[in-house]
């Protein structure tokens, strides 16, 4: 067990996957010589050569499309879209091609591609470099979406994504790349679709994913000081999401808060709340409360962005509403 940065865990997962399987290739903008905008791919081109680790031009549609074509032709490509905001330019290939090329061809082939992309604010990156757009992809039948919150999951979910026969979008939070956490030796692969109880508790369930996990844990500490024992569920996977784990937790706590950094309206939290209001109706002792970003673009100025981003205080307030 060694403390490892999130970005280094991503790097190690890519390294290990490429070492284990010669059909794994990597491409994206500046992932090779430059080592990636967040240095997640540093050293991989030296290790595996320029044929397997390729710097692409700034051509997001072609990057995503190449991943589809390579996946249909015997490789396991790992593509990178430098900021999740740029995924807008790749959406045809993800939505109309990658997601459907198994189903619409009769289930006779799969599309084993992985696409990594960082989302999230907190870096004053402004409206076009900060968005959390994962719900778009989670809405598309045929795509899988994961969002690791810790270095161990950054490793484990990425390995699982590369091994998976279906297209998997791995959403990393930019603010987490420098975060340190324990990584087993050898690190574990984390199955897609399984949530993790990050903090057990009895009074309320807080469901979250990605960087919001750390906000939820901070809120849980504050609440513990007031005698409220919150259970924190880290979804890890958004599509498919672990409905059984959330329902099981709700059945213990009878109160539910759903938290994410993405805009609250029409979000992942809306889906979870709607499902739990249905299958978990008899368990609920209070309305389900969502915590997410307000319905506005991510603002630039520190004074604006710090208000924009959901914080532990928002989670504490939401939990108190469920206890009122």
């Amino acid at each position: 067990m060694a403390p490892t940065r999130y970005g280094k865990a991503v790097n190690q997962a890519l390294h290990d996957a490429m070492a284990a399987d010669p059909t794994v290739i990597l491409f994206g903008e500046d992932v090779g010589e430059a080592g990636g905008p967040f240095k997640a791919t540093r050293g991989l081109q030296e290790a595996f050569g320029p044929e397997r680790v390729r710097d692409t031009p700034i051509s997001e549609a072609a990057i995503a499309g190449m991943a589809v074509g390579a996946a249909l032709s015997g490789l396991k490509p790992v593509a990178e879209i430098m900021f999740m905001d740029f995924i807008t330019l790749a959406m045809d290939q993800l939505v109309n091609q990658a997601a459907k090329a198994r189903f619409m061809f009769g289930g006779r082939n799969s599309v084993p591609l992985t696409l990594r992309t960082p989302h999230g604010g907190g870096l004053n990156a402004g409206p076009q470099h900060s968005q959390c757009l994962e719900v778009w992809l989670a809405h598309i039948p045929g795509l899988k979406v994961v969002c690791p919150a810790t270095p161990a999951d950054a490793y484990g979910l990425l390995r699982a994504a590369i091994d998976d026969p279906d297209p998997v979008i791995v959403v990393e939070n930019k603010a987490l790349y420098a975060m340190k956490g324990d990584l087993d030796d050898p690190p574990a692969i984390v199955p897609i679709g399984k949530a993790r109880t990050a903090r057990p508790g009895t009074d309320v369930t807080v469901v979250c994913y990605g960087a919001a996990l750390h906000i939820a844990l901070a809120a849980a500490e504050t609440l513990a000081g007031d005698g409220v024992d919150a259970e924190v569920i880290d979804l890890r996977s958004l599509q498919p999401w672990d409905e059984a784990a959330v329902l099981a937790s709700l059945a213990r706590t009878h109160r539910l808060v759903v938290l994410h950094e993405a805009v609250e309206a029409f979000g992942i939290g809306a889906e979870i709340a709607a499902r739990m209001a249905d299958v978990g109706f008899d368990e609920l002792d209070a309305p389900i409360v969502r915590v997410g970003a307000p319905f506005m673009p991510v603002p630039y100025a520190t004074a604006l962005e710090k208000v924009y981003l959901p914080g532990a205080g928002d989670v504490v307030a939401a939990v108190r509403r469920t206890l009122a």
Partner: protein, 325 residues
């Protein structure tokens, strides 16, 4: 290695390939009119020489990706005729088990990476396939079929750049029929493909796309260059769209004399004329015609007799592993 064939034998094979596409699409036209084929179909009648001439130079390891007018590309690549009709007729025995239809006929196992409902979308898929061939170190090539309407799609420009930059074994096979859906391409596109190719230093070749021997010869040169590792090629095949953008399109926007003139350049008729002039007996062409019709009739009958797909099976096929990893 195929045994040496006389030029007439080679041309007869090309003729049979074109006739198969022609008769299959004529049959689809009738099935569509009778309601046995639903949805939208886009026929490639008049364009058969392009995929047949190109496919004459392809092997099973080579890959192609296509567009919405893709029946000919798929059939020429060797997809199963029974599976083709069953797919368009919405049967479980269809190539895609009734989930894709006309715009998505595919058989990845033989390198046919799909027709496509999105204009230009097959281009980056082909690029990725060419990248895979290169990475795997074989001499396979990847062919993107696209129309002149796709010249206006941005992703074409991305793909020309990357293919040239990385010298990938990709053939950009443009079927230039002059029409971008319902509009003449010269009113939609300022640049010519030749100039676009030139901008990326990709060799560009014009060919009479209704002359199957000319297409086959031009494609042979292009594909040989790809296999040598000389980088991508653009093959612009000037051809004719006889039917509307889709079946049911009355083509009110086309001049009557343009449509009337299409018969003179019909690639199938030109090929049969050439064969007869070269001394091939008419009886031999008739026998090919009968055989093609027989195979198509059998495919349609088999499709009619085949079961319809089950919804639950389709639902279960969205993912390979439903619960993930």
């Amino acid at each position: 290695m195929a045994p040496r064939q006389s030029s007439n034998d080679r041309l007869l094979l090309l003729y049979e390939g074109m006739l198969t596409i022609r008769r299959a699409e004529e049959r689809l036209q009738a099935l569509f009119a009778d309601g046995e084929v639903p949805g939208f179909i886009h026929l490639s009648i008049g364009q058969e020489a392009v995929p047949v001439g190109i496919s004459a130079n392809l092997g099973p390891a080579d890959t192609v990706a296509s567009n919405h007018r893709g029946h000919g590309h798929a059939l020429a690549k060797g997809i199963d005729l029974d599976g083709f009709f069953a797919e368009l007729m919405g049967r479980e025995t269809g190539l895609c088990r009734g989930r894709g239809g006309s715009m998505h006929v595919a058989d990845v196992s033989i390198g046919m990476l799909g027709a496509n409902g999105i204009v230009g979308a097959g281009l980056p898929i082909t690029l990725g396939s060419a990248l895979a061939h290169r990475t795997r170190g074989n001499d396979a090539v990847a062919v993107a079929y696209f129309g002149d309407g796709a010249l206006a799609e941005g992703v074409l420009h991305e793909c020309l750049n990357i293919a040239a930059l990385w010298r990938l074994p990709m053939l950009f096979a443009c079927e230039n029929n002059g029409w971008s859906e319902f509009s003449p391409t010269d009113r939609q596109m300022k640049a010519k493909l030749k100039d676009l190719a030139g901008a990326f230093s990709i060799p560009h070749h014009d060919v009479d796309g209704n002359d199957v021997e000319a297409v086959a010869a031009a494609a042979r040169n292009c594909i040989a260059a790809l296999r040598r590792g000389d980088g991508p090629r653009v093959l612009e095949c000037h051809t004719t769209r006889v039917r509307g953008h889709y079946e049911g399109d009355r083509q009110d926007y086309r001049a009557p004399d343009e449509l009337a003139g299409l018969a003179e350049v019909d690639p199938v008729a030109r090929c049969s004329t050439r064969l007869l002039a070269a001394g091939v007996e008419k009886a031999r062409l008739d026998a090919i015609s009968q055989a093609v019709d027989g195979r198509i009739a059998q495919a349609v009958e088999r499709a009619r007799a085949a079961p319809e797909p089950e919804f639950g099976d389709a639902l279960a096929d969205v993912y390979t592993t439903a619960a993930g990893g």
